[in-house]
């Protein structure tokens, strides 16, 4: 990543993570918007934790709910599809 850190902390570069939904209020969290939700799950369909995605608590909560609703409607997988199918 082309980051030029201004300060070092314990040899690690501290990268500021920001909640994408706080930044862009147009970005809605909805079970229908599968493409947005897909950015917050792993390849195996697991919800990415807040500590990694950088979402704020509130939006992570909404996101989690939306993902689970999408899963129920088979818009998103609970588990990744089998390679043969």
């Amino acid at each position: 990543m082309p980051v030029v850190p201004r300060r070092k902390r314990k040899q690690f570069f501290v990268r500021r993570k920001v909640c994408r939904f706080c930044v862009d209020s147009n970005l809605l969290i909805e079970y229908k918007d599968v493409n947005t939700l897909r950015q917050f799950v792993t390849e195996r369909g697991k919800i990415i934790p807040r500590r990694i995605s950088g979402n704020c608590a509130r939006h992570q909560r909404h996101l989690t709910r939306a993902i689970k609703q999408a899963r129920l409607l088979a818009l998103m997988p609970y588990i990744p599809p089998l390679p043969t199918s």
Binding site: P2, V3, R7, R16, K17, V23, A74
Partner: protein
């Protein structure tokens, strides 16, 4: 009355006529139960993320309506009985509704639907509901938007505390 949104998935292997019946039935139930149907949106046949009742395809229908809790209860009771419906989800969108405003919205939508004779075939990108249905099309702009969105705050918010990064890190 409350405002609700309900999605139901009709078994995808059924013939079109049968699907049509399964759609109209629920639209009628909403109105028969004292609800006001604001808009009905057919997302069409889509591939399911996993198999349900032996099928990998489903016909998605979204209805927005206003009604009473009893309306929803009756609607969901029917979903459960009906073998054609493989999944459903009903969400409350608002506590109170203005009936006059709903009628206006309903008419506006009906007009918009007329203007666009084939909403299913190729939805216009500016129609928000249609865009949601066609998720595949939306993919590139959404992805483009994300890093850009992350950039702005990083520069704006933490001048002293942390260095400004390019984008949200995903390990």
């Amino acid at each position: 009355m409350r405002r609700y949104e309900t999605v139901w998935v009709v078994h995808g292997d059924l013939p079109d006529e049968e699907v049509k019946v399964a759609i109209d039935k629920y639209a009628k139930i909403i109105e028969a139960q004292g609800g006001i149907l604001i808009g009905l949106e057919e997302w069409g046949r889509r591939k399911l993320a996993y198999k349900i009742k032996g099928t990998a395809r489903g016909f998605y229908v979204l209805a927005e309506f206003a009604g009473l809790p009893a309306t929803v209860k009756e609607l969901e009771r029917n979903y459960r009985i009906d073998d054609r419906v493989i999944r459903y989800l009903t969400l409350m969108k608002g506590e109170k509704v203005d009936v006059a405003a709903l009628q206006a919205e309903k008419e506006a939508r009906a007009k918009a639907a007329e203007a666009r004779p084939e909403p299913e075939a190729r939805p216009e990108p500016e129609a928000p509901a249609a865009v949601e249905a066609q998720v595949e099309e939306k993919a590139p702009p959404a992805r483009k938007k994300a890093p850009k969105a992350a950039e702005t705050p990083a520069e704006a918010t933490p001048p002293a505390e942390s260095p400004a990064p390019g984008k949200v890190e995903e390990e």
